[in-house]
């Protein structure tokens, strides 16, 4: 029945067709089912023609004559009388079509060796329809209908320029600016293919529909077709290096302040440790494939929109970027992908590409989210009663074991203990002795909580708060043929988790407030000329307690921009505090101490440690520092397509200028502080004293460190060539580049420059055999002339066996690509030192001198300052060189549902700058002045595996991506003097290996103690309950010769993650689990010790685990040595040892998000809203299997900040994205 209707339709159509068209149909009917693909080649035919002011019809005929290719058309169907001119040489037919016919509304299709021309309007099309009348058979069911529809992106915006083609057919259309298309199709089995460069292609069987609305997904991430690589893009299919991409949606969804924080877990081979949880200082140290050098920089190179970031500021711009600006991130890991960056490539490269305009009407996208942070882990202090018991025990050990009575003043009496236990300042007996009080007053006092015998957990008191954060972003994206534009405005604000830090109008909390803008334009300035302009700004405003001046007074904080250091002051207060210290605020009075004399009844615990500086009072009175930071970045890129010389040729040039300015100001408001005691007459009342207040002081730091200005200038110019010849495709690139980083306070007063050449040649045959050669040739002024430029080649090849004819087509293994690469890269950031090649330096008139003269001592003789030799130079100093071998495999399995990428690598790093420890002392040059030489060698090997499973269960779509990466590095040579015992040698051990004593339980019995080895670190002083160490060399002395490798390095060797994505109707859900293994955290003395200075803090885990004879007798677990007072590194228990090395293994639910996209209801359309999505997201949500959390430390915290850890936070946000 259907067929009959179709037939009628055809007949009706046929009535409209002229005789000429019928004739035309007969011409190509014989070839209708011939091989279509083959016939595409006819449009590649070239011809030359010279025609002035002729009718199009005439011109077509001339072309037909010149090319011997048949053009079929009907005069009536085209505006054949239009007058045109066309003078060309060696032009292709397709160019003729594109240049002349299509602008005049004439479209084409190819039928075997004929080109059939028709006009756009459907009813006038002359194609195929005619044939159906003639070919009346069933199997040659003609395209009898038109399918129309709209192509939208994921956010519901129409996409212009999507090619819609019939699979295995000839019809095609391109979507207009409203995303509309219309295409003639055959039967219901016809498959339409929707493809566009930026999107993942979609195939759709049309079935019965005549209207198709298609949504395309942006093609970035694992499934993308096009990957951004060094100085360009490449198809994923032809990639031979080890490259992974990070989905920007994963980065955007992470509610963190710094991009670097969001990368962890999202790319195999990329790992890191977080510095701090403080707003504005929460960035993560990123490593690609671990650490391969023991002396040079370990930072990867960051490239933003093709512009290399200065090595001195590698993460500055990236960490302040708004994630909404980012289109894609690519991690380049092996030498073939990084070699073009030459001497800055050895640690890997991260390429960040920002979003650009798209053809189409402007799309406004607004996102906003709000959330809260809290500490993910907090150290927990012991309560006053436990504290008092433990300190008494510690004092008693000194008395009994060492005859040391010097701590006896710290002993708590039984009454003290009762008061701690009952949170009272007076025992009932003491109260009843106060006969001046009425019974009511006595009862009140008996029920009055302690003011002296208090118990406060200072970590919780300070860091137990909730910080708020908010983020807004507005982007506009659109474009015409001439100008495409993308503009983003962003604002981010994050508060901290400190609490109790507000007084009056002063909030001393840390905050980060950041505004971002970015405008990217692509302008078709002239024919073949594209100018791209990027302008971006980052405006950071950090603030926090503690001024530069205060910091100095409190212990060596000399740099207010170094917030980690500034926070040490505050945390030091906590380490030195105890739970019964005076509170920070009583009745609105900020308390600085007790009014009563220490030891008196008004300050009963004064000599026992109650009067330390209260951390919160210190924060409140320490003033506030503000850092204003502005970073402006501007780039212009011009690209000139030179197809007129030869097809596929273009030249381009880029100029970039970044400018960064930082200003520090501080203010110290005068805040009244008080001392207090309980009223001597009626202790129910509290008397306050003090409260003096003066004026606020302001300071701006003029010292260079605190008003830094750095700027960077970058230039490049290059030639690109990309062309296919049948099955052969080649690309080539030659590019010169130069950049200069300047900071006015450089010791040498010279900017840091780098320049070089980049070359690349790639070849592939049918995307089956792939070859690539990359080379970087570049140099820096850090090395002597003649040693400056280095040549860094890399070779790689790939093979796709599944494309071979012999490979059986099957649904289980659909794609295999094998990859291998070898290459060399460099690292010019050697130990942060510059110009080591300069000749030996001397210190003139600034060394210890002498007093010559004949004075008799009544006054010194005249002083003559001394001079001596300084650092020696090494004229041949040069960069580190890395040789990287990489093997990889890409697989798609089980109907493409499972894709796997695996890489193994080995990097041998040599030329590492090292001071020759082996050089004899007779050289007479002190260690620090011996010229470093490039002799260090390391090796680093490992693997990365990433697997993604994508499928759906009915309407529930899901994907799972699992990643594992591993690396292990070993120092092969570092010119180390061979130690008497191998375990003492750094050589042969992993980079970053900890060395220390190996613990062996505790001294539990007097016999064990009597038979102990002499501990040279504690002058032999050891008592029961101290840690026992292994005497590795058996000489009866615990000393440096027993320091051996302990545990793993801080950065774990294994990192793994699992990303889950689900979508069901409008709901989407994603979760990221990550974890690490084979890493350790060293618990520094500041955390591990107790009773610092006699009064300092005790943690709950220390109290719970402390060694006691009872626990030994009862075989209870013991995890802390016997208590001692004022622990330092000289104490037997706190020498660097594996006892304090704790695994930082963990599994986390790192991030989870659930969102809902509203359907496009009429109401939304009326409001011109094309999409609304709401979501909630949690970051750093749950942690499992993490031993370090016992100590209140998040296992992703780096341990390089000593004992000063600003807790890493957990955050929850909810947000909305609206598109107009």
């Amino acid at each position: 029945m259907k067929k009959k209707q179709q037939l009628v339709a055809f007949l009706m159509l046929a009535m409209k067709i002229t005789i000429a068209q019928l004739l035309l149909a007969t011409i190509f009917i014989s070839s209708l089912y011939a091989n279509g693909a083959y016939s595409q080649k006819i449009v590649e035919k070239t011809f030359s023609i010279s025609a002035e002011n002729v009718k199009i019809e005439t011109l077509i005929k001339e072309v037909q004559k010149a090319t011997k290719v048949k053009f079929s058309f009907s005069n009536s169907s085209i505006q054949s009388d239009k007058i045109v001119s066309y003078n060309v040489k060696n032009k292709k037919i397709i160019d003729f079509i594109n240049d002349v016919l299509i602008p005049n509304g004439i479209n084409y299709t190819i039928v075997n060796n004929s080109i059939v021309l028709y006009v756009e309007k459907v009813e006038k099309k002359i194609v195929i329809t005619t044939s159906s009348i003639i070919d009346n058979t069933e199997k040659a069911m003609p395209p009898d209908r038109t399918v129309k529809g709209t192509v939208l992106d994921e956010k519901g915006n129409p996409i212009q320029g999507v090619t819609v083609t019939v699979k295995n057919g000839t019809s095609k259309d391109i979507t207009d600016k409203n995303g509309k298309f219309s295409i003639k199709v055959g039967d219901k089995e016809t498959t339409l293919v929707f493809s566009s460069v930026q999107y993942t292609p979609v195939e759709k069987i049309i079935g019965e529909s005549t209207v198709l609305n298609i949504t395309l997904k942006e093609s970035v991430g694992v499934l993308s077709d096009v990957v951004v690589v060094a100085f360009g893009t490449t198809k994923k299919a032809t990639l031979t290096g080890s490259v992974s991409t990070i989905s920007p949606t994963d980065v955007v969804s992470s509610p963190v302040a710094s991009i670097s924080q969001a990368l962890i877990g999202n790319s195999p081979g990329l790992s890191g440790m977080q510095q701090s949880g403080e707003p504005g200082r929460s960035s993560t140290n990123i490593y690609i494939r671990g650490i391969s050098t023991f002396s040079g920089s370990t930072n990867p190179l960051i490239v933003i929109d093709g512009v290399e970031q200065p090595a001195e500021q590698s993460m500055t711009q990236l960490n302040s970027m708004d994630a909404n600006e980012i289109e894609s991130m690519t991690v380049l890991k092996d030498a073939s992908s990084t070699a073009v960056y030459g001497i800055r490539a050895a640690n890997g490269v991260i390429i960040v590409t920002t979003k650009r305009g798209k053809l189409g009407k402007p799309v406004l996208s607004l996102s906003a989210n709000f959330g809260a942070n809290q500490a993910a882990n907090l150290m927990k202090g012991a309560n006053s009663y436990d504290y008092a018991l433990m300190r008494n025990e510690a004092v008693n050990i000194y008395n009994n074991e060492q005859n040391n009575t010097s701590w006896n003043t710290l002993l708590f009496t039984p009454t003290d203990l009762w008061k701690f236990q009952n949170n009272r300042d007076y025992t009932p007996a003491e109260v009843s002795a106060m006969t001046n009080l009425t019974p009511a007053q006595q009862a009140q006092l008996n029920n009055s909580p302690a003011l002296y015998y208090r118990s406060t957990d200072w970590w919780k008191e300070m860091f137990g708060g909730t910080g708020l954060q908010q983020q807004y972003n507005l982007t506009v994206r659109g474009g015409t043929d001439k100008v495409k534009y993308f503009t983003s405005l962003g604002y981010f604000n994050q508060g901290d988790i400190l609490q109790g830090i507000t007084y009056g109008n002063n909030n001393k909390g840390s905050f980060l407030s950041r505004a971002n803008f970015r405008s990217n334009f692509d302008i078709e300035a002239a024919k073949n000329v594209t100018i791209s302009v990027n302008i971006a700004g980052q405006f950071n405003n950090y603030g926090g307690p503690g001024t530069y001046l205060t910091g100095t007074a409190n212990g060596g904080n000399t740099n207010p921009t170094d917030w980690a250091s500034r926070y040490k002051v505050i945390e030091q207060d906590i380490f030195e505090s105890n739970p019964f210290m005076q509170p920070s605020v009583i009745d609105g009075h900020i308390i600085s101490g007790y009014a009563g004399a220490a030891g008196s009844s008004y300050n009963p615990l004064g000599i026992k440690g109650s009067g330390q500086m209260n951390p919160i009072t210190n924060v409140l009175t320490s003033g506030e520092g503000l850092i204003y930071n502005t970073m402006l970045s501007g780039s212009a890129k011009i690209k000139y397509t030179m197809d007129f010389i030869t097809k596929g040729l273009s030249v381009h040039g880029t100029a970039n200028y970044d400018d960064n300015y930082t200003k520090y100001v501080s203010s110290t408001p005068s805040i009244p502080t008080y001392t207090y005691y309980r009223d001597p007459v009626n202790p129910n009342n509290i008397d306050f004293f003090g409260g003096a207040q003066s004026y606020t002081t302001f300071a701006t730091a003029n010292t260079y460190n605190y008003n830094t200005t750095w700027h960077k200038f970058y230039l490049d110019a290059g030639i690109d060539y990309a062309r296919s010849f049948g099955n052969h495709s080649i690309t080539a690139l030659l590019l010169g580049k130069a950049s200069q980083y300047s900071i006015p306070v450089d010791n040498y007063n010279t900017p840091s420059g780098i320049m070089g050449l980049v070359g690349r040649i790639t070849y592939n045959y049918k995307q089956k055999y792939l070859l690539e050669y990359n080379v970087g040739y570049n140099g820096t002024e850090n090395f002597a002339q003649g040693h400056r430029f280095g040549f860094f080649p890399a070779y790689s090849f790939g093979w796709v066996p599944t494309s071979e004819n012999f490979f059986p087509k099957n649904k289980w293994v659909t794609y295999i690509k094998l990859r291998a690469s070898y290459g060399q890269t460099g690292n010019d950031q050697i130990n942060g030192r510059r110009y080591l090649y300069l000749p030996n330096t001397y210190n003139l008139n600034n060394q210890n001198g002498y007093y010559l003269g004949s004075g008799n001592g009544s006054a010194p003789n005249a002083y003559v300052a001394g001079s001596n030799e300084g650092a020696n130079g090494n004229p041949s100093v040069t960069w580190e060189r890395a040789e990287t071998y990489n093997g990889g495999i890409d697989l798609r399995l089980i109907k493409d549902k499972l894709s796997v990428t695996a890489d193994v690598f080995r990097q041998n790093r040599n030329n590492i700058l090292t001071t020759l420890a082996t050089i004899s002392a007779v050289y007479g040059v002190s260690g620090g002045n011996i010229p470093p030489v490039n002799v260090g060698r390391t090796t680093n090997h490992g693997y990365e595996v990433s697997a993604t499973w994508t499928d759906h269960i009915n309407k529930l779509g899901y994907s799972l991506t699992g990643q594992v990466s591993y690396n292990h590095s070993v120092i092969l040579y570092q010119a180390e003097v061979p130690n008497p015992y191998d375990w003492m040698n750094r050589t042969g051990k992993p980079i970053g290996q900890y060395f220390g004593l190996r613990s062996d339980g505790f001294y539990n019995t007097p016999q064990e103690l009597a038979n102990r080895a002499f501990n040279s670190y504690s002058s032999g002083q050891t008592v029961m309950g101290d840690i026992r160490y292994k005497d590795l060399n058996g000489d009866g002395i615990i000393n440096a010769q027993d320091m051996a490798p302990i545990g793993f390095r801080n950065l774990p060797e294994y990192a793994y993650s699992l990303r889950i994505r689900l979508n069901y109707k409008g709901f989407d859900f994603t979760a990221l689990f990550n974890g690490t293994a084979n890493g350790d955290f060293y618990i520094q003395n500041g955390i591990s010790g107790v009773f610092f200075k006699g009064f300092g803090t005790v943690y709950q885990w220390q109290y719970d685990g402390v060694w006691t004879p009872d626990k030994v007798a009862n075989h209870q677990p013991i995890s802390y040595p016997r208590p001692e007072i004022n622990t330092t590194g000289n104490s037997a228990n706190f020498i660097t040892s594996d006892f304090w090395l704790k695994s930082n293994n963990f599994i986390k639910l790192k991030n989870a998000e659930i969102g809902y996209t509203f359907p496009r209801t009429a109401a939304l359309k009326k409001a011109s809203i094309s999409g609304i999505r709401v979501y909630v997201n949690g970051d750093n949500l749950l942690i499992f299997n993490a031993p370090l959390t016992k100590y209140g430390i998040d296992p992703e915290t780096t341990d390089v900040n000593s004992a000063y850890i600003f807790p890493i936070t957990r955050s929850f946000i909810c947000g909305v994205n609206i598109q107009f």
Binding site: G736, L844, G853, S867, A921
Partner: protein, 606 residues
């Protein structure tokens, strides 16, 4: 045309690269950098380099500049051990081992040798220095190198011999030389220096090396070659490879080594007399009689800088008046006791082990409390006996209840004016317990005779008394008792004591050694002397073993009164602490890190 365009573009890029090199790859402006040519571009700069070398060469004698530490007395048994972070304390607490401590810093020594070689090799380039001065500078460099090598000779034995500055690519695998080679090498350096140096310098240059200083140096070098530690057929311990024993022992006992000491000392003494230098003895008592001006004469000889001190051949001229930076006042600040700011030297009293060496003023032995006494003695006994002591004790010490005699009339130097505790004392001290350590049996005040407010100490490197004791020791070993006694008594009588008349060689040897101890208290001699004499009680009394210090029961601990005689109730002798001797300590260890380089071998036992 196409190819041309293509070629042009590539050429453009390459040319651009080349042309822009100067813009992008800059070099620092090194014209202002100080290089070796700057140092030797004028006399002032070169002298500045030389004076830095002086500061090191003679400072090392006096205080260990590379360790947090103080005067050498702590490790020589002349003072208490100091604080736990100080050199003497750590040195012996850890048993003088190769990974942590030794007095002579091997690395710094060679750094100074290098500096001296650089100066000697480059001084000829200095345009504005006359040839005569250049000759002097070269000789000074040789003299200071000899000083360093003598120090290493005494401390390590044979060492690698370096006579020029190396560049990094040179072969620096220089093994240790034998003792004889090191001696010969150092003697030659002395001889060259003596030949090249002047007899005296203009007043403005006073303090620089003279012929006589190096002559005294050579005499000292030779006496260490002659003393029994090296001048022996067998080493104190065998090297792990006995073939290397020649690095720590001459392999024979040769009496001629004493002859050369006599010769060298007599040459030096003759030079001294020709320059008007001699032991200061103003009392006019004549030969063989106690000098009535002993306290002042000895005090002047050991404290007065400049040419007025006619006993001084060379001294360490670091006259930094600061007590809070790094000058000698910082490490050895005796004068500042009366200020409250003395820093690191509070626990440096003289232990009883050393006090025993002093006689009473009448030349007889003092009777001090002994370990094992039945009862403590009254505090007044201490004051009485203190004041009975010989002038050198009084010149060099103050004590609880006892004013410093070397600055009479100056309230700051009285027990009452002293701002620090002078005794190991307590209100509750119980006989015979140990109350504390560090303050010894007296507080040293040496080098500050009539110092007034001078913070820095004069530190003698060579003074004439040394030459007389060299001769006394050498003549006694040669069996020339009369000559030995004659030279010994020059020093002994000057100190206000009656002549020594012992004729037994061994007894006289002991007397001479005792004279060395007392006369050169804190002058950085004893640490090496007692080892090279191989004294039998070195490990039980002199350097190690029980360290004895007086303990005081006092009636007040108030700062102003604790040192007053009226507040001293009783005192007794007690073991302050004990240090263990190891025979390997006769010589110091080469740093383990250096031995690990497999170029030099370690001294035995380490």
């Amino acid at each position: 045309m196409k190819k041309l365009m293509f070629g042009l573009m590539i050429t453009f890029i390459l040319l651009g690269m080349y042309a822009c090199q100067k813009t992008f790859l800059q070099q620092p402006n090194v014209s202002g950098n100080v290089s070796i040519s700057t140092i030797f571009s004028n006399s002032l700069n070169a002298t500045s380099e030389l004076l830095n070398a002086y500061q090191w060469a003679f400072g090392q004698q006096y205080m260990n500049q590379s360790n947090t530490g103080v005067c050498m007395g702590g490790i020589a048994g002349e003072e208490s051990r100091g604080y736990s972070w100080q050199f003497a304390y750590t040195c012996y607490a850890t048993g003088l081992n190769a990974t942590t401590t030794s007095w002579v810093n091997y690395g710094i020594t060679y750094q100074q040798v290098r500096e001296l070689c650089i100066i000697r090799e480059n001084i000829d380039q200095v345009p504005d220095m006359d040839a005569v001065t250049k000759g002097y500078v070269k000789a000074e460099c040789q003299g200071m190198m000899a000083q360093w090598y003598m120090l290493m000779f005494k401390d390590f034995g044979g060492v690698p011999l370096v006579n020029h500055s190396y560049v990094a690519t040179d072969n620096m695998n220089i093994p240790r030389a034998s003792l004889q080679q090191t001696l010969t090498f150092t003697e030659k350096l002395c001889d060259s220096a003596i030949a090249g140096l002047p007899d005296s310098w203009p007043a403005s240059q006073f303090g620089r090396l003279t012929k006589g200083a190096v002559m005294a140096l050579k005499a000292q070098l030779l006496i260490f070659a002659a003393r029994p530690l090296f001048n022996s057929s067998t080493p104190y311990l065998s090297m792990s490879d006995p073939a290397n024993n020649n690095m720590i022992c001459f392999g024979n006992t040769d009496p001629k080594r004493w002859d050369s000491v006599v010769t060298a000392s007599n040459i030096a003494l003759a030079w001294c007399k020709s320059q008007g230098l001699d032991v200061i003895n103003t009392g006019g008592a004549g030969v063989g009689k106690p000098n009535p001006n002993a306290l002042n004469d000895y005090g002047m000889a050991t404290s007065l800088p400049g040419p007025t001190n006619t006993e001084l051949i060379l001294n360490y001229q670091n006259q930094n008046n600061s007590v809070v930076t790094s000058g000698p006042g910082f490490y050895y600040d005796m004068s500042a006791y009366w200020t409250a700011s003395r820093y690191d030297n509070a626990l440096m009293g003289t232990p009883y082990n050393f006090l025993k060496n002093y006689l009473k003023a009448d030349g007889t032995e003092q009777s001090w409390p002994q370990l094992g006494d039945q009862a403590p003695r009254p505090g007044s006994d201490y004051v009485t006996r203190f004041k009975q002591m010989e002038p050198r004790w009084l010149a060099d010490h103050a004590g609880p209840g006892c004013d410093a005699a070397n600055n009479p009339g100056d309230a700051k130097w009285t027990a009452a004016g002293w701002n620090q505790t002078m005794s190991n004392s307590s209100l509750t001290a119980v006989f015979p317990q140990t109350v504390a350590y560090g303050n010894g049996c007296g507080t040293n005040t040496k080098f500050y005779w009539h110092a007034g407010s001078r913070v820095w100490p004069l530190f003698p490197i060579y003074r004439v008394a040394e030459l007389y004791l060299n001769l006394a020791e050498a003549y006694n070993e040669q069996g020339q008792t009369a000559l030995a006694l004659q030279n010994l008594n020059v020093v002994h009588n000057r100190a206000g004591l009656p002549s020594i008349t012992i004729t037994d060689q061994a007894a006289l040897r002991t007397a001479i050694q005792r004279e060395w101890a007392v006369e050169f208290y804190l002058e950085s001699k004893r640490y090496f002397d007692v080892k090279h004499w191989k004294l039998p009680t070195i490990g039980t009394d002199i350097l190690m073993g029980n360290r004895l210090e007086f303990q005081f029961l006092v009636s007040s601990t108030a700062a102003a009164s604790i040192n007053l005689p009226s507040n001293l109730i009783s005192y007794w002798n007690a073991v302050a602490y004990t240090w263990l001797w190891n025979p390997r300590m006769m010589l110091e260890p080469i740093p383990q890190g250096e031995v690990n380089k497999l170029i030099v071998v370690q001294n035995p036992g380490y």
